[in-house]
């Protein structure tokens, strides 16, 4: 079965406090020069019918009001 990966990230312009918290913590851990950190989610799945992925993302995996998503086919199929 084809395997896909969906990356879900907060929409630009919406405050991402998790991303900010990570960004703020980095210098103390010795990492300089890192900006615009955003924290999102990744979902991986085996899917019989990759054509339905868009619908799955719109309905469940992401909330289109506040999130953008990106679908990646992992086996090179489709």
């Amino acid at each position: 079965m084809p395997r896909a990966r969906v990356l879900i990230r907060p929409k630009e312009g919406i405050l991402d406090p998790q991303g900010k918290a990570v960004e703020r913590a980095l210098p103390a851990l010795g990492f300089e020069g890192i900006e615009h950190v955003h924290v999102g989610r990744m979902v991986e799945l085996d899917v019989e019918d990759p054509a339905r992925l868009g619908e799955l993302c719109e309905k469940l995996l992401a909330n289109p009001l506040i999130e953008d998503y990106e679908i990646e086919q992992l086996d090179g199929a489709g």
Binding site: R24, A25, P27, A28
Partner: protein, 727 residues
């Protein structure tokens, strides 16, 4: 030295322990058996250095329903109901991975309580870390608080109280002790003992993976050294959503009478629960690992037997009821599998698809571990070092602000606001609003109070007196809300018992715990021991943590610790004889040393009774126990919480023979700070010292008199959140 003998040492068994196992089996153990013995014979499971000491503790009482040896203790609360409670540690895992370590600590103690058939109704936690100027300690604090909040909030059990301390000796070995309180109808409570030869053994809950394999023997029976990052894979991952389903499922199964006995899976997983159930019941158990639902492919039998995957329970079920049990589990969307049977063999047998891969006598496995005597020796002098962070030249007003802002004394609001303290609608007194949490118990028409207390630093000064103080502190906290103690649970957190000083500390502390409980008439209904809390720089402070549950007839009368009215009189009650020995100020001045005054338990108990009765009679506006930071801090706390200042003269206290500094900042048991009408306070025999009102805290104490603005005191007391977020 053969490869065989080296293996047992790697698993934490001594050569003589290994030889004893060979003798009891009549042959050498195979891998499955060796793994199981190494876990059940580890310090964490077998209590080999503490079990003899624990026999000193008083465990009987007319209100005791379940005592030590069951999954948790329980006391009768009236009207056919019982309150179950216990405290447990999860120290070593939390030092490695604080979020999951603390979260699974909460998960584990919840399971201990609902394994009795009691619905959990409250969580409390006692945490100790190194000083906050250490990045590591801030990281551990942050992770632990998030983890406790994550687990407790998700499962819907309110966190109603706790304590957090910051002391250098905990830098490498933080302490995370979690306490749970539950309620059950006494006749519905179930014991862990497996019974009924031929009955089925059913595993319920989450599937089994490689979580925590070797956790018990590797982490909890050895000191943490360099490179403990490599131990990360052995930390368990918790899923509170799964636990919420398992909890409801088990309570429904028990309510329907479908289970003969129930046991939770904690340290050493299937090995310990199956072994302990068989031992308690005087029976044998056969388990087939091929029938255990697995999360990871290709797990070996020994891995399946010692896995510490969370959110699993083991039940004994009559064969005719197995199908119904599985159906109830399906309704709650949680796993269920019949994996074994109760036998009369007196042996634990592990099978894989019917083939025997392990076969051990129950008695050898569970009770055959040798128990060791300690070789205690009192250390010569103070062994923990000192670091001054305040000047002796500071004015007393500045000193008060230093103490209020000291992280161990300061308000823990930053932490407890991350916990849901109201779910369940029982919480009458929320965190920091009174000296003990108060929960209404409409089932019995009354209420309970709960407190968890300990002070490792003072126990390090004098393990005997310091431990007695911990018990008295708890009793005083309960008295402030009008509660009478019903039972006690304890977690003994100490260093390496094979070393002279920690052995001496443990020995003294247990004796003191026994004396205090006998004198107060409070039975010990259960507890936990965590040893080997030592890092490269030495042991932690000896830290007995005490959790107490008490009852009160009318929750509406539970006093808060904040002043209530302007113009109320303020008084001191109790045999309070403040001393700077072991005090927070002494720590800040870098002058800690051994020695504490000996507490007068009977006098403190009498004061508790007086305060308790006064609170129940509604005679007081506020009641607050004097502890960290001494009397001045107690005054400030009552004032800050109310937004009402006070004017007080400590001359009456000084007449007991203490210096101004001791009167202001000295510590010790037996001090109650009360407010109310003059007449009421006088009728109790309390010593009037001032009155509430205004916007300043004004204290007359000879040449150390001071006036501090209430706003400044409040800023200092609420400074923890800034200290924690310093990056």
């Amino acid at each position: 030295m053969t490869v065989e003998t080296a293996k047992h040492r790697e698993l934490g068994l001594t050569d003589s322990e290994f030889e004893l196992i060979v003798e009891k089996l009549g042959r050498e153990p195979n891998d499955v058996e060796l793994a199981m013995f190494s876990l059940l014979w580890s310090e964490h499971c077998a209590y080999k250095h503490s079990r003899k000491l624990l026999r000193r503790l008083p465990t009987e009482g007319e209100r005791v329903v379940m005592g030590p040896g069951e999954n948790a203790g329980a006391v009768d609360i009236g009207n056919g109901h019982a309150i179950a409670f216990k405290v447990e540690s999860h120290n070593h895992p939390s030092a490695v991975e604080p979020f999951q370590g603390a979260a699974t600590g909460v998960g584990g103690i919840l399971r201990d309580v609902f394994a009795l058939g009691a619905r959990p109704i409250a969580i409390l936690d006692s945490l100790r870390f190194g000083e906050l100027d250490s990045v590591r300690s801030r990281h551990l604090l942050d992770g632990a608080v998030r983890g406790i909040g994550h687990y407790g909030n998700s499962i819907g059990v309110p966190n109603v109280g706790g304590e957090i301390y910051f002391e250098a000796p905990y830098e490498h070995n933080c302490l995370v002790n979690a306490m749970c309180v539950g309620i059950a109808r006494t006749e519905d409570m179930v014991r862990a003992a497996a019974a009924g030869v031929g009955n089925a053994v059913v595993l319920m809950g989450a599937s089994t993976g490689r979580d925590g394999i070797g956790g018990a023997s590797v982490l909890a029976s050895a000191e943490l050294g360099e490179g403990d990052d490599a131990k990360r894979p052995t930390v368990q991952i918790g899923d509170p959503f799964e636990e919420s389903k398992v909890l409801e499922c088990c309570l429904e199964l028990l309510g329907k009478g479908l289970l003969v006995s129930l046991q939770d899976l904690g340290a050493a997983g299937l090995t310990s629960s199956a072994g302990e159930m068989a031992s308690a019941g005087g029976v044998g158990i056969d388990l087939d690992v091929a029938r255990v639902p697995l999360r990871e492919a290709d797990m070996e039998p020994f891995e399946i037997m010692v896995s510490e995957s969370q959110e699993r329970m083991l039940g004994v079920v009559e064969p005719a009821k197995v199908a119904e049990v599985i159906a109830v589990c399906a309704k709650w969307q949680t796993g269920a599998a019949e994996i074994g049977v109760v036998t009369d063999s007196g042996r634990v047998r592990v099978l894989r698809d019917g083939e025997v891969v392990g076969d051990m006598p129950v008695e050898a496995l569970v009770d055959g571990c040798p128990l060791y005597d300690l070789s205690p020796a009192e250390p010569a002098g103070w062994m923990y070092g000192n670091r001054a962070t305040v000047s002796r030249d500071a004015t007393s007003g500045e000193t008060l602000l230093d103490l209020l802002g000291s992280p161990s004394v300061a308000s823990k609001r930053w932490a407890f606001e991350q916990y849901d303290s109201v779910v369940g609608s029982r919480t009458v007194r929320r965190p920091e609003s009174a000296d003990a949490a108060v929960l209404q118990v409409p089932e019995a028409g009354n209420a309970i109070a709960v407190s968890i207390d300990g002070n490792g630093r003072r126990v390090a000064c004098d393990p005997y007196a310091g431990t007695i103080e911990a018990v008295l502190e708890c009793a005083q906290n309960l008295a402030c809300v009008g509660a009478e103690p019903l039972g006690l649970t304890n977690c003994l957190n100490f260093g390496n018992p094979e070393k002279l000083a920690p052995a001496w500390q443990l020995d003294r502390a247990v004796s003191a715990l026994a004396e205090a409980c006998e004198a107060l008439g409070v039975p010990v209904v259960g507890g936990n021991v965590s040893l080997y809390n030592e890092g490269p720089e030495g042991p932690i402070y000896p830290t007995p943590v005490v959790g107490m549950v008490g009852e009160l007839p009318d929750p509406a009368r539970a006093c808060g610790s904040a002043f209530l009215h302007e113009g109320d009189a303020i008084a001191l009650l109790g045999p309070f004889e403040p001393s700077l020995a072991g005090a927070e100020l002494t720590k800040l001045r870098g002058e800690l040393d051994t020695g504490l005054p000996q507490p007068d338990v009977a006098a403190v108990a009498a004061a508790c009774a007086t305060v308790r009765e006064a609170v129940r009679a509604g005679k007081l506006s506020s009641a607050h126990d004097v502890s960290d930071g001494g009397f001045a801090c107690a005054l400030a706390e009552s004032a800050i919480a109310a937004g009402i200042g006070c004017r007080v003269d400590l001359q009456p206290l000084r007449e007991r023979g203490c210096s101004p500094d001791e009167a202001l900042f000295g510590e010790g048991p037996g001090g109650f700070l009360l407010s109310g009408s003059r007449e009421a306070l006088e009728s109790l025999g309390a010593t009037l010292i001032g009155e509430t009102g205004g916007t300043t805290i004004e204290v007359a104490a000879g040449d150390r008199s001071f006036t501090v603005d209430l706003g400044a005191a409040e800023s200092a007391w609420h400074s923890l959140s800034e200290r924690v977020s310093e990056v």
